[in-house]
Amino acid sequence: MNGISVMWLREVKRFFRSKSRIVGSLGQPLLFLVALGYGLGPVFQQAGQGNYLEFIAPGIIGMSIIFTSIFNGMQVIWDRQFGFLKETMVAPVSRLSIMFGRTLGGATVAALQGALVLVLTMLVGFRPISWTGIIPALVVMLLIALLFSALGMVVASLLRDMQGFQLIMNFLVMPLFFLSGALFPLNNVPPALLLVARFDPLSYGVDALRLFLLGQGVFNITLDIAVLVGMIGVFLALGSYFFSRIEV
């Protein structure tokens, strides 16, 4: 218990300390919203699909959560490099609780980030269909954050140093984001692309966000939540296994 709470607190403290990190991580979502939302908006409208800014807003929230949470998970590599990981490894708490605490902390931070991006989308013109939809949407954000924080831990436990970071960004994070339907509707895409999107857990997260914030989606909410919760379980299990095998 001590291990979990202390590791969680550490992540949260570090988040609120680094103002530059908070502001910096809002830049990219803002750019996507403005450039794509306003830039592609007219084309989208002409195709009879409605308001593009509203359509991508949940996708951009998903994007900021996946980037932040995978990056937080990979913080372990940093701690290994700078030695702090050793301090936690010789402490009389189980590795499992350290891993859980970190994942929860990283997920909390990423979900907060997602909530900030939601506020940002509302500032540039996004209007959710109902205020009450925001509460379940926040829960979905936390689920997405947990899922990808756990995935980040799996990745970090397998890498020895930051050399592999670009590889992970380009071959894991970017495809997860671009193939998830965050930027385009999945109901008219070629079957092959839809198939790929069905294997991407972020598709279900973004879909659930759209259901709660816009009232539209391609899958149903039960499936979305079931996939998110199921994959959290899978990645937490893998993460604990690989984390317990780390040698420092």
Binding site: R10, S18, Q81, M162, M169
Partner: protein, 268 residues
């Protein structure tokens, strides 16, 4: 003699290579200060990692304060404090928070923890810097803070892995006087490694020299000098371990510099 560390036939092999530690046995008396010396790659760090539950031995037994690290790692972890060769503080937290986190991880109750933190910060002369971020600390201050952290949970043994590496003579001198004071006043057993032979000769009551994974000599500084008919411990050390230069793994500072530049480049 009351032994607080007992090591018997300890062996560690990595993959196919020659054993990093080959069948070593030694005991450390409670309340003593022991230096563990050896050239780079001799097996010092591997031994310390096995003693501190970070690595599992391939063969042999270890008992630390009556417990076996393999079967009861948490009891062993409560019994020792450690200052690692490389810094291991969280630079984004303050000095106080680093200590506080350690105390919580080790399950030290709040009242005791707060009192102990105040006491230790005073001991390592960092009381006035307690709310400063560790990233603004000098190398010597970080070392002192790490020592304070290692002592927070009242360990019986303090492991110091090259604690004075990269510190100026003033700081080194100071650091050893803290360590001697702790040993004298709190009865803590100290087990350290260093490359500075004069430190070992001055501070340690007992010295073990390891080379190629085996203990090649053991005894007091005076006994080792007498055995090799040398004037200094440095000469005795060279007599026992030979003169050739050992291969050194990439130093942690180089790795960190690499990381920093990678980090800047890779940030999205």
């Amino acid at each position: 003699m009351d032994a607080i560390i007992t090591v018997e036939h300890l062996t560690k092999t990595f993959g196919e290579g020659p054993a990093a530690v080959q069948d070593i046995s030694f005991t450390v008396a409670r309340g003593s200060i022991v230096a563990f010396l050896g050239p780079n790659g001799a097996g010092k760090s591997t031994t310390i990692k096995m003693l501190t539950t970070l690595l599992r031995p391939t063969a042999g037994t270890i008992r630390i304060a009556g417990h076996d690290p393999a079967t009861n790692p948490d009891a062993v972890r409560h019994a020792f404090g450690i200052v690692f060769q490389d810094p291991s503080l969280d630079e984004d937290l303050t000095a106080f928070e680093n200590l506080e986190f350690h105390g919580v991880l080790y399950g030290v109750p709040k009242e005791t923890r707060r009192a102990r933190i105040t006491e230790l910060l005073a001991l390592v002369e960092l009381s006035d810097r307690k709310d400063d971020f560790v990233r603004n600390f000098s190398g010597g201050m970080k070392r002192r803070l790490e020592i304070a952290r290692g002592l927070l949970h009242h360990p019986q043994i303090l492991f110091l892995d090259e604690p004075t590496l990269g510190l100026d003579p003033q700081t080194r001198n100071h650091l050893w006087s803290y360590v001697e004071k702790l040993n004298r006043e709190e009865g803590i057993t100290v087990f350290f490694t260093t490359h500075y032979m004069e430190e070992a000769d001055r501070v340690a009551q007992h010295i073990a020299i390891i080379d190629h994974g085996r203990i090649v000599a053991e005894g007091s500084g005076a006994a080792l000098k007498k055995q090799t008919k040398s004037n200094s411990l440095e000469d005795a050390f060279l007599m026992l371990t030979g003169n050739e230069i050992r291969a050194e793994a990439g130093n942690s500072l180089d790795r960190m510099r690499n990381m920093r530049s990678m980090h800047r480049g890779a940030r999205r």
